[in-house]
């Protein structure tokens, strides 16, 4: 913890931004210590949650109870860590703990605990504990629960992260983590189709919203100059005045609305009801869907108080409130009804934030608490009914009051709270909502519209609550239930009992139960002194009470008129945003598949064309946009030999292109090109390059001939004129462009480092061959990277060729069978003595490499060509048993040698890959200059030999394996 601030709480400015005034405090030594401790404690909450989320998975072998206990312990530990911090948050402090992470991007591990965070932490952990207990009974005993609880804990950790983040980018990371973990939870019963569809939809919508939120947060950070909440919340005026305010607000709202299932993004929530009911009770009532409204509350001081905020947040909230309440009434599935009711209540909370007065914000926070309590208990009750009856269809589940009177009573109380019946907590926040709509200042000429709207919404809430109570618990006898229902186990009911008790307590004694928490949370949300509000059951006869009464009466009336209403609803044109989304999603997936099929159709020609086109485009763009080089160096005069060589080069290249259907001839012409290039290197005094080029050329020719062997005997089909002209154009553009680039580079004067290398090669690197010293010493890190890539290529070739079965044709292009004598005696006998000779050459080149042309790379190529010669001359049956096996281990050995010698320099306190060198006197051989770079070079050597051998011998043995498999069959 590098930084920790605690604003002083004094007078009006109680809910203040963090300030540095603490430093002037005389007794800050004590405070500092306390501050550090609480910072650690704060950081410990998410750290504990993330460190231990897999605990249930680890202990599930000890039984379901152990897993449950582990999950509960994790949550209880987090709660215990939170409690010492609670008093400060209640007092209005904002505890901030900060650990630099990626300061360059404005991303720090900074956490913040204030009233709002505390409220959400309590909801997450408290309801989480109840859900853990509930799930133990709800999920079938065949489920070992480790996976379930681990994902649940991961989700909880991510939620804690969201509500405790001080840095908005950090918040976003946790935000996306909740999307992912909720996907896993909704899809928990992955064998069910609805689960998978629902989970996918939830992920697509909330994940997509997360991307919008990301963009919005980046904009917001750009406007405010920081991603830290402390800065952003203090910069409200500046943010609202900024030109980018509108896009930032809209993007952030998309994020919040998708998460909180606000219209028009509400449709994923009913689909997510395929989740196990404990998940619904946790995610879809108390926590995840509240993340959206949490974000609204969190950013309210920065983004709120503008017309755009009012219309967007209020509009979407109002729309959702009524639309979802009306839809809830017509749902036959209990959880479907509850889902739409949740959407509706979230709409209510959103609307309250949108109304944009301090009191409405207080009401919104209050309703967050109340809704979490009663909705979680309702979901749990629905789960009990589902668990006992085997179905959730309200047309079949009837008369449950007689079967399970206790659960029924509890559910009825909770549903009453949902409807806003007096003495219950839902009533209080709904009263506050009604009061706010009446006193709302902006709608002067249409002052009656908002209250009327609110009353209608209240009526609908009462109506669907009545339907829930009446249909499930009364309304005659159950119809054709899969199971014989009875009361659930004692402890399965306990969470519901506790939550319903809270409903009653908050409803009857709001002041001393929820008052302080609400004050702390609302204060932290507003970042300003709290408005004057009074939590009480009885406010006297006033307009809100009248509206409540109207809502209750109207709701009951609507429910009484349900039969004509249902008949009317059945005739409505079906409105299926879910199916529309699913159709859209499938169209998107099909489109992606089609695009992929166009791009990735297995044609090497197409890949090359696309790749080269892209390079041409990039190069062209750079060419057009880059600065032009005006200074040109004079070119060198060309002599006859150079012109001749270039002509041969040109003829070879043209011939290979023109004669591509005569494969063998084309390969020979390609090798002509390579040889001319080698000669050019020699002429331009680059013996190292020439040597390497020659060795590469040998390997390439063998490789090409091997590949040719597997091609079908008929020659390649002729390309269409269109394709030919496309390829010609591409080739001309790419080749011409490359030529231009080369000319540009060679003709522009520039300072090179060659002088330094030439000077330092012998004293600094201990070698006279500058090229080799550059490779193994000056730029050893580059070489290490290159041989790593080479090793990867070898590994990939090994993996690809290992199981490939490819049968070569039995005869050549003219229909002649291959020669019977595959390994002429003359060849095989003379190649054997050639092997030690070739190896001597390669060792010679290797050893002298540091001082004169040679080195590990060339030596490796020569060794591998010499070894491949043995394959060619004597056949695989002879050569394979005599070759080193375990290509993968050899690759590792090579890399280990190269990297290991680099690491050794650490032992001597030098940087990675520092080279040491000295003279050694050996008998017989004499003075030898040895450099540690030689070991590095040895690593290069081993990797090169292994890769070339793997590829060539692998290709060569394909057909052999194919044939032996055929024979086995």
């Amino acid at each position: 913890m590098t930084d920790c601030r605690r604003p002083t709480a004094s007078g009006k400015d109680r809910y203040n931004r963090a300030s540095g005034a603490l430093l002037d405090d005389p007794d800050n030594a004590f405070l500092d210590e306390a501050c550090v401790n609480s910072s650690l404690l704060l950081a410990a909450i998410p750290a504990t949650a993330f460190a231990t989320f897999s605990l249930p998975l680890l202990v599930q072998r000890c039984g379901r109870a152990a897993a449950t206990l582990a999950a509960a312990t994790v949550m209880a530990t987090c709660l215990a860590l939170l409690l010492p911090l609670a008093p400060a948050a209640f007092a209005g402090h904002s505890e901030v703990a900060r650990l630099a992470w990626l300061p360059g991007y404005g991303l720090d591990l900074s956490l913040r605990l204030d009233g709002l965070g505390l409220l959400f932490c309590l909801l997450i952990l408290g309801i989480g504990l109840l859900v853990v207990l509930y799930a133990f009974y709800y999920l079938p005993t065949s489920d070992r629960l480790g996976r379930f609880y681990s994902i649940l804990l991961l989700f909880m950790a991510a939620m804690l992260g969201i509500v405790l983040s001080e840095n908005l980018l950090l918040l976003l990371i946790f935000w996306e983590l909740t999307s992912v973990s909720s996907f896993l939870l909704v899809a928990y019963r992955s064998d069910k189709y609805e689960s998978r569809i629902g989970a996918r939809m939830a992920l697509a919508v909330t994940g997509g919203g997360g991307l919008a939120l990301f963009a919005g947060i980046v904009l917001l950070g750009h406007i405010a100059g920081s991603f830290e909440l402390t800065v952003i919340l203090a910069a409200g005026e500046q943010i609202r005045a900024h030109a980018l305010y509108a896009p930032a607000l809209i993007l952030i709202l998309i994020g919040a609305f998708t998460k909180s299932a606000q219209f028009p993004f509400h449709f994923w929530l009913p689909s997510a009801m395929a989740a196990p009911t404990p998940v619904s009770a946790y995610l879809h009532s108390a926590t995840m869907v509240k993340a959206g409204v949490f974000l609204l509350a969190r950013l309210y001081p920065a983004l709120g108080s503008s017309d755009l905020w009012f219309w967007m947040v209020g509009g979407s909230g109002a729309m959702t409130l009524v639309y979802a309440a009306a839809t809830a009434l017509f749902r036959n599935d209990i959880k479907g009804l509850l889902a739409y009711s949740t959407i509706s209540h979230l709409g209510l909370i959103t609307l309250l934030f949108g109304l944009d007065t301090p009191l409405s914000v207080v009401a919104g926070i209050f309703h967050i608490i109340n809704h979490a309590i009663f909705k979680a208990s309702l979901f749990m009750a629905a789960g009990v009914i589902d668990h006992e009856c085997g179905t959730r269809d309200m047309r079949r589940v009837n008369g449950m009051f007689r079967v399970m009177p206790i659960t029924a009573t509890l559910a009825i109380i909770a549903a009453g709270s949902m409807a806003g019946v007096p003495l219950l907590n839902g009533f209080l926040s709904k009263e506050m909502f009604f009061a706010e709509t009446i006193s709302y200042p902006q709608f002067e000429p249409l002052g009656w519209a908002l209250p009327l709207f609110a009353t209608i919404a209240g009526m609908l809430a009462v109506a669907y609550s009545s339907r829930f109570i009446h249909d499930v618990f009364f309304n005659g006898e159950p119809i054709d239930l899969p199971r014989q229902p009875h009361e659930p186990p004692r402890w399965m009911r306990a969470p519901i009992e506790l939550l319903v008790l809270l409903c009653l307590l908050v409803g009857i004694f709001p002041g001393w139960t929820v008052g302080p928490l609400l004050a702390a949370a609302a204060g932290a949300t507003l970042q300003a002194p709290l408005p004057d509000f009074h939590l009480a059951l009885w406010h006297g006869f006033n307009k809100p009470l009248l509206m409540s009464t109207l809502a209750l009466a109207g709701g009951v009336l609507i429910y009484a008129l349900r039969r004509p209403l249902f008949a009317w609803q059945a005739h409505l044109p079906p409105l299926h945003p879910r199916t529309a989304f699913e159709r859209f999603y499938r169209a998107l997936a099909a489109g992606a598949r089609r695009t992929l099929a166009v791009l990735d159709n297995g044609s090497l020609q197409r890949y090359s064309a696309l790749l080269v086109s892209f390079i041409v485009l990039l190069g062209g763009w750079a060419f057009v946009s880059g600065p032009s080089a005006d200074v040109r160096l004079p070119g060198q005069p060309a002599d006859e030999a150079a012109v001749g060589a270039l002509l041969v080069l040109l003829l070879g290249a043209l011939g290979a292109t023109a004669l591509y259907r005569e494969r063998l001839l084309a390969v020979i012409l390609v090798s002509v090109v390579g040889l001319v290039v080698t000669l050019i290197f020699i002429r331009l005094s680059a013996p190292d390059l020439a040597l390497t080029q020659l060795a590469v050329e040998m390997g390439t020719i063998i490789l090409l001939l091997l590949v040719l062997y597997y091609l079908p005997p008929r020659s390649a089909p002729r390309s269409s004129a269109r394709r030919l002209s496309r390829d010609l154009l591409l080739a001309l553009l790419a080749g011409g462009g490359l030529g231009l680039v080369t000319l540009q580079m060679l003709a522009s004067p520039f300072e090179t480092m060659s002088g330094f290398y030439l000077q330092q090669s012998l004293p600094g690197g201990g070698g006279a061959n500058v090229v080799n010293v550059i490779l193994v010493d000056f730029r050893g890190f580059d070489t290490l990277g290159e041989i790593t890539v080479l090793a990867m290529v070898g590994l990939a070739a090994h993996a690809l060729l290992d199981r490939l079965v490819l049968l070569a044709p039995q005869h050549d292009a003219d229909g002649r069978p291959w020669a019977a004598e595959a390994h002429p005696l003359f060849l095989s006998m003379l190649m054997r003595p050639l092997l030690p000779l070739s190896l001597t050459v390669s060792v010679y080149l290797f050893l002298r490499g540091h001082n004169v042309p040679g080195g590990g790379f060339v030596a490796g190529l020569i060794t591998s060509v010499a070894l491949v010669m043995q394959y060619l001359a004597n056949g695989i049956a002879f050569a394979q048993p005599r070759m080193p096996r375990h290509a993968v281990r050899l690759l590792a050995l090579g890399l280990f040698l190269a990297a290991g010698i680099g690491l050794t320099s650490w032992l001597f306190g030098r940087p990675f890959l520092t080279s040491a060198h000295g003279h050694v006197q050996l008998p017989l051989i004499g003075d030898l200059e040895l450099a540690s770079a030689m070991v590095f070079d040895l690593g290069v050597y081993v990797v090169v030999v292994t890769v070339v051998l793997t590829v060539l011998a692998g290709l060569g043995s394909l057909s052999l394996r194919a044939r032996s498999q055929i024979e086995e069959v």
Binding site: L706, H811, L827
Partner: protein, 126 residues
């Protein structure tokens, strides 16, 4: 160059001229001889000899220079050349027979016919 004795100079010059002559002859043969099998003699026999002579000349020349010891590289090259040239010629001739390259007097086919009857090998390496 000045330190080289006259005898060595003559020897080197003679070898170079001889080598060049053989290489030239081999090249003419490659260009002028009528069919593949006879053409094969040019590069494999005459030219090999020519290059050998040139290499010897190089070895003598560099060995007699004062600042260097005996130059053995050329001998190694010579050795490689003398092993690979006949093998190459042998393989080319076999391939030509296999492909039933027609000589002017047209008496081939026999070997190829015989080989046709046998089974094909598994792989170029196998």
């Amino acid at each position: 160059m000045s330190t080289m004795s006259t005898a060595t100079e003559y020897a080197v010059a003679a070898l170079i001229v001889l080598g060049a002559l053989f290489v030239l002859l081999g090249s003419i043969g490659l260009a002028r001889l009528p069919d593949f099998l006879t053409r094969l003699h040019g590069p494999t026999k005459a030219t090999t000899l020519g290059v050998g002579a040139l290499l010897l000349a190089s070895a003598i020349f560099f060995s007699t220079r004062p600042d260097r010891g005996v130059s053995l590289h050329e001998l190694a090259i010579l050795f490689f050349l003398f092993i690979t040239a006949p093998v190459t010629a042998h393989l080319l001739a076999k391939a030509a027979l296999h492909r039933q390259a027609k000589a002017r007097d047209g008496e081939q086919r026999t070997t190829a016919d015989r080989e046709k009857a046998r089974s094909a090998p598994e792989s170029p390496l196998g």
